[in-house]
Amino acid sequence: MTIADPKAPRPDQADLDKAADRPEDADQWTARIRTTAVEALPPQRMLPDRQPAYVASWIYVFGVVTISALCVVIATGFVLAVFGPNWWHVSSTGLFVNSLHLWSVEVFFFAMVVHLWGKFFMAAWRGKRKATWITGVVSFLVSVGAAFTGYLSQQNFDSQWISTQAKDGINSTGAGAIFNVTNFGQMLMWHIVLLPLCVVALVGVHVLMVRLRGVVTPFAARNETPGGEPADTTGAEVQA
């Protein structure tokens, strides 16, 4: 094993982007994955310094508000999970964190619905952005499930009432055999493990798609073809 000389010139970044550190390693799976990943998700497009001029509108703010609320939801959920229901029902600090968890969910859905309306009326699936739209829609649906199992996990009369009211509806769909809303342990696991993982993963892919394809152009924007495709199909100039 040799130790690399720290003063030795580093390989050109373009070479790293295209292949392995050494040409003879280019066919290794690590190099192939790295090359594919860098080509698919160029770092300069993931965190741009500037946005297109048409993004200067309040309607573009609600996606970020949704993500911010999701961060608060997850952070407060971590705290609630650490201390448990005896704490969040009795302690004044626990009640406060529980309320933060609830109200950040309210902000999350409020902002997400306004974001959805804005993108719907922009036809935001134009210009190769179908995957962006679909991951957003699925995120919304999975979030509804996450909120529902949250109501079932409150450990109070409200959650008992909701579970007994919901069981007939769920049973009528035929899903009651595997998704038992009166099974508190199962609902808690769905709420604090499965669905949050799905929501975060979907939102992550959604944001990556937004960064990759760029923000959809308005209908009347110049430099645009009728199909909503930016005139520069790489999106680099639009997104830079």
Binding site: Q51, A53, Y54, S57, W58, V61, F110, V114
Partner: protein
Amino acid sequence: MPAIALVFGTVFGALIDLNKPGNYIHWGFIQMSYGNLIVIILMVIVFFAAILIPFKSPKGKEGDR
């Protein structure tokens, strides 16, 4: 109870009394609580406000294009 909490509790408690069964609207087969209706109306108001209210960019950062 601190005075400020008492004042806020009294004011908001007078506006929205949560210690009684909720009020619902019935419109054909649609049944909805007033709380949910208020949230939907707020979302519509915020949606149009977001479209109509100008967004001021910081000077020198007008964006590309």
